[in-house]
Symmetry: C2
Subunit: 90 residues, 2 copies
DNA sequence: ACTATAATTTGGTATTTAGCAAAATAACAA
DNA sequence: TTGTTATTTTGCTAAATACCAAATTATAGT
Protein backbone atom coordinates (compact mmCIF):
# COMPACT_ATOMS: atom_id res chain seq x y z
CA UNK A 1 0.00 0.00 0.00
CA UNK A 2 2.73 2.37 0.94
CA UNK A 3 4.98 2.31 -2.11
CA UNK A 4 2.09 2.26 -4.53
CA UNK A 5 1.80 5.99 -4.00
CA UNK A 6 5.45 6.62 -4.72
CA UNK A 7 5.02 4.46 -7.78
CA UNK A 8 2.19 6.69 -8.96
CA UNK A 9 4.16 9.85 -8.21
CA UNK A 10 5.86 9.69 -11.62
CA UNK A 11 3.96 11.03 -14.62
CA UNK A 12 5.89 8.68 -16.89
CA UNK A 13 4.62 5.72 -14.89
CA UNK A 14 1.09 7.07 -14.86
CA UNK A 15 1.25 7.49 -18.63
CA UNK A 16 2.35 3.88 -18.98
CA UNK A 17 -0.57 2.71 -16.87
CA UNK A 18 -2.99 4.76 -18.96
CA UNK A 19 -1.66 3.20 -22.13
CA UNK A 20 -1.84 -0.32 -20.73
CA UNK A 21 -5.39 0.38 -19.65
CA UNK A 22 -6.26 0.49 -23.35
CA UNK A 23 -4.26 -2.50 -24.55
CA UNK A 24 -1.27 -4.70 -23.76
CA UNK A 25 2.00 -3.41 -25.25
CA UNK A 26 5.60 -4.47 -25.63
CA UNK A 27 8.39 -2.46 -24.04
CA UNK A 28 9.39 -1.23 -27.49
CA UNK A 29 5.88 -0.06 -28.33
CA UNK A 30 5.67 1.82 -25.05
CA UNK A 31 9.06 3.35 -25.72
CA UNK A 32 7.89 4.63 -29.11
CA UNK A 33 5.13 6.61 -27.41
CA UNK A 34 7.30 8.23 -24.75
CA UNK A 35 10.22 10.65 -24.80
CA UNK A 36 12.47 8.85 -22.32
CA UNK A 37 15.23 6.50 -23.48
CA UNK A 38 14.79 2.75 -23.33
CA UNK A 39 17.02 2.30 -20.28
CA UNK A 40 15.03 4.91 -18.42
CA UNK A 41 11.77 3.30 -19.50
CA UNK A 42 13.04 -0.08 -18.38
CA UNK A 43 13.62 1.32 -14.92
CA UNK A 44 10.07 2.64 -14.75
CA UNK A 45 8.68 -0.69 -15.93
CA UNK A 46 10.64 -2.41 -13.20
CA UNK A 47 9.13 -0.16 -10.57
CA UNK A 48 5.63 -0.83 -11.89
CA UNK A 49 6.36 -4.53 -11.82
CA UNK A 50 7.75 -4.41 -8.28
CA UNK A 51 4.58 -2.64 -7.19
CA UNK A 52 2.69 -5.50 -8.82
CA UNK A 53 0.75 -3.08 -11.01
CA UNK A 54 1.83 -4.76 -14.25
CA UNK A 55 2.69 -8.28 -15.33
CA UNK A 56 4.95 -9.43 -18.15
CA UNK A 57 5.09 -12.23 -20.66
CA UNK A 58 8.02 -12.92 -22.92
CA UNK A 59 7.38 -13.95 -26.54
CA UNK A 60 10.66 -14.53 -28.28
CA UNK A 61 12.75 -11.40 -27.99
CA UNK A 62 9.87 -9.14 -27.04
CA UNK A 63 8.26 -8.70 -23.63
CA UNK A 64 4.62 -7.75 -23.40
CA UNK A 65 3.41 -5.68 -20.48
CA UNK A 66 -0.18 -5.76 -19.21
CA UNK A 67 -2.07 -4.13 -16.36
CA UNK A 68 -2.52 -6.31 -13.29
CA UNK A 69 -6.20 -5.43 -13.03
CA UNK A 70 -6.66 -7.27 -9.73
CA UNK A 71 -4.11 -5.13 -7.94
CA UNK A 72 -5.28 -1.96 -9.64
CA UNK A 73 -8.77 -2.61 -8.36
CA UNK A 74 -7.43 -3.19 -4.86
CA UNK A 75 -5.50 0.05 -5.09
CA UNK A 76 -8.63 1.97 -5.98
CA UNK A 77 -10.47 0.44 -3.04
CA UNK A 78 -7.64 1.43 -0.71
CA UNK A 79 -7.60 4.96 -2.04
CA UNK A 80 -11.28 5.34 -1.38
CA UNK A 81 -10.70 4.03 2.12
CA UNK A 82 -7.86 6.45 2.73
CA UNK A 83 -9.60 9.60 1.62
CA UNK A 84 -13.34 9.27 1.49
CA UNK A 85 -15.85 8.87 4.32
CA UNK A 86 -15.62 11.24 7.31
CA UNK A 87 -19.41 11.10 7.24
CA UNK A 88 -19.59 9.81 10.79
CA UNK A 89 -20.69 13.02 12.37
CA UNK A 90 -23.03 14.53 9.83
CA UNK B 1 -3.94 16.60 -11.05
CA UNK B 2 -0.29 15.98 -11.62
CA UNK B 3 1.24 17.11 -8.35
CA UNK B 4 -1.50 15.59 -6.25
CA UNK B 5 0.24 12.26 -6.68
CA UNK B 6 3.60 13.58 -5.57
CA UNK B 7 1.77 15.12 -2.63
CA UNK B 8 0.39 11.71 -1.71
CA UNK B 9 3.78 10.05 -2.16
CA UNK B 10 4.78 10.97 1.41
CA UNK B 11 3.53 8.74 4.21
CA UNK B 12 3.72 11.67 6.61
CA UNK B 13 1.33 13.62 4.41
CA UNK B 14 -0.98 10.63 4.03
CA UNK B 15 -1.01 10.25 7.81
CA UNK B 16 -1.96 13.89 8.18
CA UNK B 17 -4.84 13.45 5.74
CA UNK B 18 -6.05 10.39 7.62
CA UNK B 19 -6.05 12.30 10.88
CA UNK B 20 -7.87 15.27 9.38
CA UNK B 21 -10.42 12.89 7.95
CA UNK B 22 -11.48 12.23 11.53
CA UNK B 23 -11.42 15.79 12.89
CA UNK B 24 -9.94 19.23 12.34
CA UNK B 25 -6.66 19.77 14.19
CA UNK B 26 -4.17 22.53 14.93
CA UNK B 27 -0.60 22.27 13.67
CA UNK B 28 0.53 21.61 17.25
CA UNK B 29 -1.95 18.79 17.74
CA UNK B 30 -0.83 17.16 14.51
CA UNK B 31 2.78 17.58 15.57
CA UNK B 32 2.08 15.76 18.86
CA UNK B 33 0.94 12.70 16.92
CA UNK B 34 3.90 12.53 14.55
CA UNK B 35 7.62 11.94 14.95
CA UNK B 36 8.88 14.74 12.69
CA UNK B 37 9.88 18.11 14.05
CA UNK B 38 7.61 21.12 13.78
CA UNK B 39 9.58 22.75 10.95
CA UNK B 40 9.40 19.53 8.96
CA UNK B 41 5.70 19.22 9.66
CA UNK B 42 5.16 22.80 8.60
CA UNK B 43 6.73 22.01 5.24
CA UNK B 44 4.41 19.06 4.75
CA UNK B 45 1.39 21.15 5.68
CA UNK B 46 2.45 23.73 3.14
CA UNK B 47 2.59 21.12 0.43
CA UNK B 48 -0.87 19.83 1.34
CA UNK B 49 -2.14 23.38 1.27
CA UNK B 50 -0.54 24.12 -2.10
CA UNK B 51 -2.20 20.99 -3.47
CA UNK B 52 -5.45 22.42 -2.13
CA UNK B 53 -6.08 19.28 -0.09
CA UNK B 54 -6.37 21.16 3.19
CA UNK B 55 -7.57 24.58 4.26
CA UNK B 56 -6.53 26.65 7.28
CA UNK B 57 -8.10 29.05 9.73
CA UNK B 58 -6.22 31.08 12.28
CA UNK B 59 -7.67 31.51 15.78
CA UNK B 60 -5.34 33.65 17.83
CA UNK B 61 -1.92 32.06 17.81
CA UNK B 62 -3.11 28.67 16.63
CA UNK B 63 -3.89 27.57 13.09
CA UNK B 64 -6.47 24.89 12.51
CA UNK B 65 -6.14 22.57 9.53
CA UNK B 66 -9.10 20.83 7.88
CA UNK B 67 -9.58 18.58 4.88
CA UNK B 68 -10.78 20.30 1.73
CA UNK B 69 -13.41 17.66 1.11
CA UNK B 70 -14.40 19.10 -2.25
CA UNK B 71 -10.95 18.65 -3.71
CA UNK B 72 -10.49 15.26 -2.05
CA UNK B 73 -13.66 14.06 -3.72
CA UNK B 74 -12.45 15.36 -7.07
CA UNK B 75 -9.17 13.57 -6.55
CA UNK B 76 -10.93 10.28 -5.96
CA UNK B 77 -12.98 10.76 -9.12
CA UNK B 78 -9.82 11.44 -11.10
CA UNK B 79 -8.10 8.40 -9.69
CA UNK B 80 -10.96 6.18 -10.72
CA UNK B 81 -10.78 7.71 -14.18
CA UNK B 82 -7.06 7.12 -14.41
CA UNK B 83 -7.02 3.50 -13.40
CA UNK B 84 -10.39 1.84 -13.66
CA UNK B 85 -12.46 0.99 -16.74
CA UNK B 86 -10.78 -0.82 -19.66
CA UNK B 87 -14.13 -2.57 -19.97
CA UNK B 88 -14.67 -1.33 -23.48
CA UNK B 89 -13.86 -4.59 -25.19
CA UNK B 90 -15.37 -7.17 -22.84
C1' DA C 1 6.75 47.95 25.56
C1' DC C 2 7.70 43.01 27.26
C1' DT C 3 6.99 38.17 27.55
C1' DA C 4 5.14 33.85 26.17
C1' DT C 5 3.17 30.60 22.93
C1' DA C 6 2.15 28.74 18.24
C1' DA C 7 3.71 28.26 13.96
C1' DT C 8 6.61 29.32 10.03
C1' DT C 9 10.80 30.50 7.36
C1' DT C 10 15.72 30.16 6.53
C1' DG C 11 19.93 27.76 5.67
C1' DG C 12 22.23 23.70 5.34
C1' DT C 13 23.20 18.57 4.73
C1' DA C 14 21.97 13.93 3.40
C1' DT C 15 19.18 10.78 0.96
C1' DT C 16 16.46 9.58 -2.99
C1' DT C 17 15.15 9.79 -7.72
C1' DA C 18 15.40 10.43 -12.72
C1' DG C 19 17.89 10.48 -16.52
C1' DC C 20 21.44 9.01 -20.02
C1' DA C 21 25.29 6.39 -22.55
C1' DA C 22 27.55 2.28 -22.83
C1' DA C 23 27.81 -2.49 -21.89
C1' DA C 24 25.49 -6.82 -21.13
C1' DT C 25 21.85 -10.40 -21.58
C1' DA C 26 18.14 -13.17 -24.03
C1' DA C 27 16.06 -15.26 -27.93
C1' DC C 28 16.18 -16.32 -32.44
C1' DA C 29 17.76 -17.00 -37.36
C1' DA C 30 21.22 -17.92 -40.84
C1' DT D 1 28.81 -19.70 -34.08
C1' DT D 2 27.93 -15.32 -35.88
C1' DG D 3 24.79 -11.73 -36.30
C1' DT D 4 20.45 -9.16 -35.30
C1' DT D 5 16.75 -7.37 -32.60
C1' DA D 6 14.58 -6.41 -28.13
C1' DT D 7 15.28 -5.36 -23.63
C1' DT D 8 17.75 -4.87 -19.39
C1' DT D 9 21.69 -3.82 -16.25
C1' DT D 10 25.60 -0.98 -14.91
C1' DG D 11 27.88 3.24 -13.72
C1' DC D 12 27.48 7.81 -13.31
C1' DT D 13 25.72 12.79 -12.78
C1' DA D 14 22.13 16.21 -11.91
C1' DA D 15 17.95 17.50 -9.76
C1' DA D 16 14.53 16.95 -6.26
C1' DT D 17 13.09 15.87 -1.49
C1' DA D 18 13.20 15.25 3.46
C1' DC D 19 14.97 16.45 7.50
C1' DC D 20 16.73 19.28 11.41
C1' DA D 21 18.46 23.40 14.28
C1' DA D 22 18.31 28.13 14.66
C1' DA D 23 16.11 32.33 13.63
C1' DT D 24 11.82 34.76 12.60
C1' DT D 25 6.92 36.12 12.46
C1' DA D 26 2.28 36.56 14.43
C1' DT D 27 -0.92 36.99 18.12
C1' DA D 28 -2.36 37.71 22.67
C1' DG D 29 -1.76 38.84 27.64
C1' DT D 30 0.38 41.82 31.28
Amino acid sequence: MSDIFTTLASSVRRDILSMLKERDMTAGEISDKLTVTKPTLSGHLNILKSADLVVTERQGTTITYSLNTTVVDELLANLVGLLSSKDEKE
